[in-house]
Amino acid sequence: MTLELNRSQKLIQKAAWEFARGEFDRDDLLELEKTGKFPKKIWKKAADLGFIGLHFEEKFSGGGLGIFDTLLTAEAFCRKDSSCGMAIMFSGFTGELIMAAGTPDQKKQYLEPLALGKSLCGGAFFEPESGYELSPIRTHAVHEMGTWVITGKKTRVVNGAGADFFPVLCETKEGPGLILVEKNAPGLIITPMGRKLGNTMTPWADLEFDGVKADSNQILGPPGKGLELVKDFLAQARLINAGMALGIAQGAMDRTLSHAKTREQFGRKIATFQHLRHKIADMALKIELARGIAYGAAQAYDNKNKAQVLSAMAMEYACEAAEAVADEAVQIHGGYGYMREGEVEHFYRDAKFLRLFCSNSRLRKDIIADDTLGHLKSANIK
């Protein structure tokens, strides 16, 4: 490894791996993946042991550690099972937002239950037909007599169908704001989005706000700061995504090594074929590179380097590596790799899906190019 972990990080890594090895039952998870169910039992247990929100504030039942520690946990969980790992790690999704902008009361009410595995949060940031552009925001919130009244639509809401509350990005008089809306707020219609190519254990939803009301104090941070808050949050999410990608790659690699060393064709172990060995070398190199940039980016973030470019790079490359490694894993497994029971097929789907999570290559490259070249005007052709 090119970046050495410190003692505490090594302990976390080991604990997360042991938890996953002990609690992630292969056959149960294949069934959950197939049916698209959230791994509730494992989630509860992970929260009990403190694996959810390792980087949340200790005061609110978080671990008080860094994003790096959460990334290591994501890696270990996804290595054991990509789908379950993703679902468990997304159970803390948006906690960073509440940490960054929440009042103590809000943190007590919303952050703590996340860390304790008592609720899920659905980030309602994106709108139909806008891809992953955050603006323009067509969902409006009007302040009327001490109450926010929200009208509009959100889509691709992570955890949407299982969440207890939603930070909703709304246009307000003061600019973009984030308002916390409870799942049973009148006028809120939650429609599950159905099965996805990957990350099947996390239930996404479409939300419709038909004059939904929220108390004045449900605003998260100052109105007008909503966009910046979400952007910062997404940068952190990308680091955790990079950890997931790393785990997916490593998990696919583990299975491939064990397959290659046991499977025989043409009278010899397939691991003795030079072409296959070089594929394995390519995979190992990709994983090493992904780990280097993911760990480095997380460390930089925890060291107060909040530049978005490293997290965009880390997610971009780790996802690229995960997809390539999982793809080769399927290929090397042959027909068995295409079967559900071969496991690597869902690693492959999860890798592909993760690459599209809350951004895409185009958007991440825009971030990197802006950082490298400066923000020149009119980056598109006439």
Binding site: K34, E129, S130, G131, Y132, E133, T155, R156, M193, G194, R195, K196, L197, G198, E264, Q265, F266, H275, L276, E323, D327, V330, Q331, G334, G335, G337, Y338, M339, R340, E341, E345, H346, Y348, R349, K352, F353, R355, L356, F357, C358, N360, S361, R362, K365, N380, I381
Partner: protein, 380 residues
């Protein structure tokens, strides 16, 4: 850049197929995907309408049409991305074994049903320990007088549940040579000792009833051997050319279908106030993919032309198989990258096509096997 000459008759046939599929097939696909089985009635409807084995002579119940009609069927089946109704596999991979190698009595007995869809076929080569290494198969066929007794199992068999007739490869255990002991046999469904597994759960091809086949003292008449005893391996190798052309061309059609879908998506979705298709990086990605498809289409059509003319094209077929299936996989991935997670919902078309196409670089000879074959043809 026209290579193949499609006539008005071809065009009319295609039109009929397209409207047949839209009306009688497409509405049922989701159900087939969910249940991992495709109703026999759909096969029969395909047969009744002349979309199975169009090349088969009229004396065997076919229409005696040229190979391009088969190509039309693959192309249109690919456009609706429905793997359960594996017409290419049945019409152009399995039935040709019977047509080329069976005795006249067997041909008269089976071929009309193959064309009508009453008889669904499968070919059984692969075994758990004999994947790329086909000749490692362990299923045995032992002759006792007029009977042949089969023992062993096969896996990853497409049409495995629906099949009425199996072209089975098995070995004579008395012959030590890996290749010379293999023969091909016809095994009917319901033959005592022959049983089928349950459909595999797979990444894709969910409507395809892929399964295992088991043979336990399964007895068939000697007349059900195809060709001469011991000729099985060269027969397989001979027929693999057309099988690989089916796979390669299908993968190319799949890539084009995915790309067409993506072009439509990019023209209608906007980002930052303009159509996705107006963003330069999206344009270039689409252009790169379109270029791949166009170039490989020309190669596929040339390959089909040469195949129809009876040329020896093992090298080119292997190149096509590896390159087109790889392109198809890559295009599936890139199309999703461009469209983003909205298109990764299973309610859209792309996820199924992404999942379906991934197997094409594995089956009918992995791409690594293709490369080994090409290396041989280059004298390396």
């Amino acid at each position: 850049m026209e290579i193949l000459k499609f006539t008005k008759a071809h065009h009319d046939y295609r039109e009929r197929l397209v409207s047949f599929l839209a009306k009688e097939v497409v509405p049922l696909i989701d159900q087939c995907e969910a249940t991992h089985i495709t109703p026999r009635s759909m096969w029969q409807a395909m047969g009744k309408n002349g979309f199975l084995c169009p090349w088969l002579e009229e004396k065997y119940g076919g229409q005696g049409l040229d190979f391009l009609y088969s190509v039309i069927v693959w192309e249109e089946m690919t456009k609706i991305h429905f793997t359960g109704l594996a017409a290419g596999l049945h019409s152009d991979v399995v039935v040709p074994y019977i047509h080329s190698f069976a005795g006249e009595a067997q041909k008269r007995a089976y071929l009309p049903g193959c064309a009508s869809g009453e008889i669904i076929t499968a070919v059984a080569m692969t075994e758990p320990c004999a994947g790329s290494d086909v000749a490692a198969m362990e299923t045995t066929a032992v002759t006792h007088g007029d009977e042949i007794v089969i023992n062993g199992s096969k896996t990853f068999i497409s049409n495995g549940i629906n099949c009425d007739l199996v072209v089975l490869a098995a070995r004579n255990p008395d012959i030590t040579d890996r290749h010379k002991g293999i023969s091909l046999y016809l095994v009917e469904d319901k033959t005592p000792g022959f049983s089928k597994g349950t459909p595999f759960e797979k990444m894709g091809w969910a409507s395809q009833d892929t399964t295992e086949l088991f043979f336990s003292d399964c007895k068939i008449p000697v007349s059900h051997r195809l060709g001469n005893e011991g000729d099985g391996f060269p027969m397989l190798m001979q027929k693999l050319q057309q099988e690989r052309i089916v796979c390669a061309t299908g993968a190319m059609f799949a890539a084009r279908t995915m790309l067409d879908h993506t072009l439509d998506f990019c023209r209608t979705r906007t980002q930052a106030g303009k159509a996705l298709s107006k963003h330069q990086s999206v344009q270039f990605a689409l252009v790169e993919m379109q270029t791949e498809v166009e170039i490989l289409k020309t190669f596929a059509h040339t390959l089909i032309r040469d195949h129809m003319e009876g040329h020896q094209i093992i090298k080119e077929t292997s190149m096509a198989k590896y390159k087109m299936t790889q392109m198809s996989k890559e295009i599936a991935s890139r199309c999703l990258d461009i469209m983003g997670s909205e298109a990764a919902l299973e309610s859209h078309d792309l996820p199924r096509m992404f999942r379906d196409t991934r197997v094409t670089s594995i089956f009918a000879g992995t791409n690594e096997i293709m490369k080994s074959i090409i290396a041989k043809t280059l004298g390396l």
